[in-house]
Structures are given as structure tokens and as C-alpha cells.
């Protein structure tokens, strides 16, 4: 019933809000005094409440970075946990200012749904997980013909799954749940033979299983899943703020600016770093964005650079231990490339 209410509220907000839709989100956020950020209800490594009730993860930290850019304070964020189904209505209706919820960038979402994606904070792909105790001898997704597969409703995963089995002429039996937690529980209880979602998600889900070591992630990746933050279309200023916060995180990593050394870096002789950190004389980069000139300093102080966020939440500093892979900087053979701040 909660979702019914959410959808109805979303729809009625769309129906009734006379002015919010295309108004200046940046001014609204500043007036409100905090950033309303839509995140996953509980995906380890991306956004999940910890034992103190604080939201942690890569997606949650990205919102903190945006809040730091706007307010100079990364704690001025309020998080809204959203299911895959509710997320788009929440952003369309203005319930949230930014959707940072492992959401795949697709042309349909960019156009028909009326969003803009600010970048790709995590390059992912869809994979499958099985219980190797129950299904011995399965080493490839091509052996899954006839299997019951748990999947979350309203995701690109659900669509890729249909396409993949269709194009390989395999049968399957989809068991579709609205909530991530419901799908996890059903898979753990043995309702399905396999579980499918983004591969990063599979590692997170595996940790939540009753006995994680029984489950293996199959090697195939069947789709491209570029995950990134989205904002409403038609508000270029706010889009710029979010986009350049993302580039700032990448450029900071490239320049070696970290949470620990950002203060001393302000005095660096390197003109690139000085420009980025707003210590260049007569700089207007920050104010042109509608922010203060030390916005990058605030962002890095709040969350660290992209590499730090990654390692802390999903990389070596986390239980997930995911390697950087394609998410490494372009200078290290990955795909993450920050546009120049100048």
C-alpha cells in the first residue's frame, strides 16, 4: 500500500505543483537548506543505512559531495530510500532533487522520462548468481535454460534478462519482485535457481545471504549498465552543478588531491590545482556555477576524491572488495575521465 500511496502522491504532485517542475532547483535547494537525495533502500556498497542509521555507499557519498558543493557542508543531505519502481516518479514530481540510486543511463530515461544523467559514477554490467551447493556443475549462464530466475521489477535488468534468454533461445521462468529485499529473500529461500542484477549488486547481495560462500557469481556479463546520478531535464544550472561535482571528484583524484591533503594543496604551485581549488586570483569558476569559489575544496573535504569514495565503499576498504577495473581513471586504463575544470 505504501507504494500505491507513493505513486498517487507522485502523480498528484505532478498534477498539482504549479511552479516547481522547471524552476531553479539550485535556488530551491539553497532556500530549503538541504539536498533531498533519492537512494536505494539497501544495496551494500552503493546506499544502505549502517548500524548507526547513517546512509553509506558510493551513491550516498555522491549526494554528500553535491551537498558540499552547494552548502560547503556534506551533511546537509536528507535521503529518501526508493524502490526501483518509485524512483522515477519521485524525481519527476520534485519529491527529490537528485536521483543517485544505481540507475542505468538509457536513452528512454533521458528522453521520454524527462531526465538528464550527469555522468557515470560506476560502469557496471548485468550478471547472474547461483547457489553452487544446490546446483553443482553450473559454470555458465548458457546452462540456465529452464531455470527460475529472481529479478527486481521495473529495472533494465528485467528487460536485459528477457532479451538475453530470447536471443539465445533459452526458456526461463521469471519471478519478479517489486522490492530488492523481497527478491533477495525469495532467492535465499530457494524460490529461484538464479538471481540476476548488476554484477556489483550481486556481490553486495551475496554478503546478505545466510551462507555467502555457497553462492557464486557466474562469469558472463550480459549487458552494459552505466550507473549514474540523474536530475530533471530543463534545469541546466542544476544539471551543471551535479555534472561538475562529478568531474571535480575525478579531476581531484587525477591531480592527487585527497581528503587529507586538500588544505595544503590550496597552496600548490600547480596552476591546474590552484584553478580547481579556487585559489587562483580573480577566479570565477565557482560563482559561474552558482556556487562559491572554494566548492571543490568543500567537496573533497566532505567525501574525498572519486578514488577514495570508491575504495571506501566498494573497493579494497569495503567487504565487497571490487577491483577498479573499468572504473579506474583513464590515465590508468579505465573509463573514468573528468572534463577539464578551467
Amino acid at each position: 500500500m505504501k507504494t500505491v500511496i507513493k505513486v498517487l502522491v507522485g502523480a498528484s504532485l505532478l498534477a498539482a505543483s504549479a511552479a516547481t517542475a522547471s524552476a531553479a532547483t539550485l535556488a530551491d535547494v539553497k532556500a530549503k537548506g538541504f539536498l533531498q537525495c533519492g537512494v536505494n533502500t539497501g544495496l551494500a556498497g552503493f546506499s544502505a543505512p549502517n548500524d548507526k542509521g547513517e546512509w553509506t555507499g558510493l551513491d550516498a557519498d555522491f549526494c554528500r559531495a553535491v551537498a558540499a558543493a552547494v552548502f560547503g557542508d556534506g551533511t546537509k543531505v536528507k535521503f529518501t530510500g526508493l524502490s526501483a519502481k518509485d524512483r522515477f516518479t519521485a524525481l519527476q514530481s520534485g519529491e527529490i532533487d537528485i536521483l543517485s540510486r544505481n540507475t542505468t543511463w538509457t536513452v528512454n530515461r533521458d528522453t521520454a522520462l524527462g531526465f538528464n544523467f550527469a555522468g557515470v559514477t560506476y560502469y557496471d554490467g548485468q550478471g547472474f548468481m547461483i547457489n553452487s551447493k544446490k546446483l553443482e556443475g553450473i559454470t555458465s549462464t548458457m546452462q540456465l535454460s529452464g531455470a527460475a530466475i529472481c529479478v527486481q521489477a521495473g529495472t533494465t535488468t528485467e528487460l536485459n534478462l528477457a532479451d538475453y534468454f530470447r536471443s539465445n533461445n533459452m526458456e526461463y521462468n521469471p519471478v519478479v519482485f517489486e522490492k530488492f529485499e523481497e527478491a533477495n529473500a525469495a532467492y535465499d529461500a530457494g524460490r529461484c535457481d538464479a538471481y540476476t542484477t548488476d554484477q556489483s549488486g550481486l556481490y553486495g547481495v551475496r554478503l546478505q545471504m545466510a551462507s555467502p560462500n555457497d553462492h557464486v557469481v557466474l562469469p558472463e556479463i550480459i549487458s552494459k549498465e552505466p550507473l549514474g546520478p540523474a536530475v530533471r531535464q530543463g534545469d541546466d544550472q542544476w544539471f551543471d552543478v551535479v555534472k561538475w561535482t562529478y568531474y571535480a571528484l575525478l579531476n581531484a583524484e587525477e591531480a592527487g588531491i585527497t581528503q587529507a591533503n586538500v588544505e595544503e594543496m590550496k597552496n600548490s604551485a600547480n596552476p591546474d590545482i590552484k584553478r580547481m581549488l579556487g585559489s587562483e586570483a580573480e577566479t570565477k569558476i565557482g560563482t559561474d556555477l552558482g556556487l562559491t569559489n572554494d566548492w571543490v575544496v568543500n567537496v573533497i573535504k566532505a567525501t574525498g576524491n572519486y578514488g577514495e569514495i570508491f575504495e571506501r565503499n566498494v573497493g579494497s576498504g569495503s567487504p565487497l572488495k571490487i577491483a577498479r577495473g573499468v572504473n579506474a581513471l583513464w590515465t590508468k586504463g579505465g573509463l573514468q575521465y573528468g572534463m577539464p575544470i578551467r
Binding site: A18, K85, R191
Partner: protein, 396 residues
Amino acid sequence: MATQDVTEDIRPAKASFLYDPRVRSLFVQAVVILLLVLGIWWIVDNTLLNLRRSNITTGFGFLRGRSGFDISDRLIEYSSDGTYGRALVVGILNTLLVAVTGIVVATIIGFLVGIGRLSNNWLIRKIATVYVEVFRNIPPLLVILFWYQGVLALLPNVRGSYVLPFNSFLNSRGFYLPRPVWGDGAWLVLAGLIVGVALSYFVARRAKARQAATGQQFPVFLTSLALIIGLPILGFILSGMPLTFDLPQKGAFNLTGGLNVKPEFLSLLLALSFYTAAFIAEIVRAGIQGVSRGQTEAASSLGLSSGQSLRMVVIPQAMRIVIPPLTSQYLNLTKNSSLAVAIGYPDLYAVGGTILNQTGQAIEVVVIFMVVYLSISLLTSLLMNWFNAKMALNER
């Protein structure tokens, strides 16, 4: 102000038309309708404006698009190449299926428990009371989750399936039954059934007319039973027994073939039936108790047995009390079926939600939800009102 002039021209002697109650009430109603139309127009216009401003496409054209997702429980042919419209139809049919079977099962359980509440047997009476108090005091969602996670999920896995008679299996993936496959000439069986039902109807009418005229009774029930069962069997034998069974077989992962009743459907059906049956039981009890004791006494003084008096005197009168609130319970059951989304049964609400997410057409999909649920509910009400009118006392 033209009307005023006209009024004054025609009836100059009368008091001002402002004091005419008919004119006043017309005026008030006109203003209310005007405000309503303006209000709706404002909402629609504002919505369209905002949707345009947020660059969201509007209209129902999206229903013709390729859906791209699969649905496991379906009554009609559907694949991911089908349209969103067809996916919605699959969802609507699933909702209807669970609603209709749920109504049947809930009615049966409800009547049994309701009569049990009035039983002379202490144990039966107490069991019925406990049943009613437990199920009507738990939210329906919890009952659904209880059946899904607390009962059906705990069944053994595929390899350890319970083997039931007639090649049926029960495991955590649901209930597997042999699927009947009809061959050539199977229409004779159906024809036998139709003829049997039609004949029974005429027999019943004739028997009633004869009893009214002569007082002689005819064993209508047994004759009808023989006709309805016997004629299809005759057709079956005549056409050379054109029936084979598709038996569930062990596949690589699941049992394949046969008829699979999935645990999602089963738990939803059981939960909705058990939940609603608790309310129906109370309605039935109230209905029976609402028939005055004098009626039963009068019936027995006429020499009717207790069974006859229940069937011919008490129940017809109780039905008049029972049917109106029963209709509300049927409507509740239908609407509660949207809770299916919690356990992944692809009913209208679950499928519609996926479409909403895929296309972003929130308002259109919510409108479809409202129209479909409203239509189903109105149709149920219509049927039940017709039934009620048929059962009502014909006062002369």
C-alpha cells in the same frame, strides 16, 4: 438578466423569483456543476502544462510499444515481444482469476465457518470463533506473507518434492498437476455437459410445477446429478476417450510439463480467501440469527425436518440479509488482490507498476488502474444487485 425580465413579464403579480425555491435550487445546482467542471478542467490543464514543462510524453500511445519484459503467470499467449497493452491484459486477467477463485473459495469457507459458529457442538463452535477472531484481526498483507514465507516457502525443494497421488507433486516452487490434453471429439463431452445442465433445468421446472399442482415430489437432485455427470461421460465414451495427460517430469532445474500452480498465486488465493472468509462467516451468522425463531418453529410444526427447514425456510430469508454485505466483502477481496505485489504475483497492479516504471507514464497508468478496478467493482456490484433483487421478498 434576461430571465428576470421574462419572469416579471409573465408573473408580475407574484413575489420576486429570487424567493422561488425551484429557481433557487436550480441556481445552486448549476453553480455546483460549474465549479466541478472548472475544478476538473483546472486539474487536467495544470497537469498537462506541468508534464510538458518537465518534458514528459503524455497520452496512451505507449500501450502499443514493445514491452520487453516477461510475465511468468499468464492466461493468454504473451512474450516480451508483446505490447504494453497486452501485458496489461495479462495483468487484468490474473487479477480476475485470483478474484473469482478467491470469491468462490472464501464463500465456501465463510458459509461453513458461519454455520459452524451456530453449531450445537461446543468444539466446532469454538474452533469457528477462534478462526474468525484470528483472521479478521490480522492485516491482509500479513496473512499473505504468512502463507508465502511461512508456509509455502518452507516446503521441500524440487528434488525432495512431496509425491501426491495422480502424479502430482508439491514443493517450494508450487503445486504440479497432470495437465489434461483433449484430443479429437472432445466437444462431445462439452456438449454432453451443456445438454445435461439444460435438461436438469427443465426437469427442475417440471418437477416444481407438478408438485405445485399435485403435491407429488420428484427426486430432482439425484436426477440432475445423474444427467450432469452421466451425459458428459457418455459423450466421453462415445468419442473414444480422447483424453491424455501431460505429466510433470523432472527437468534440469524444475519439474517441467504438467500444470504448475505457482506459490505466488497459491499463497495469494489462500490468504485472500481465509481473510475474507472470516468476515463472510460473521455475515452468514448474522443472517441466520436474523431469521426469527418463530419461522423455524412454524416450519417444524408443518412437519419439515431440520434440514428441510434450514434449506427451505431459514436460508432463503437469511440470504436477504446476507447478500448486501456479502457484496462489499467480494469487492474488498478484489481490491485486496493488489497486495499481490508484495509476493511477486503479476496482477494488474504489479504489471502496471512495471510499465509505469519502464515508460514513466505515471498518470496514464494510474488512470488505467482506477478505471479497471472501478469497472471490476461495478460489475461485481451489478451482478450481486441482480442476485439480491432475485432473492428479495416478493411482496404482494
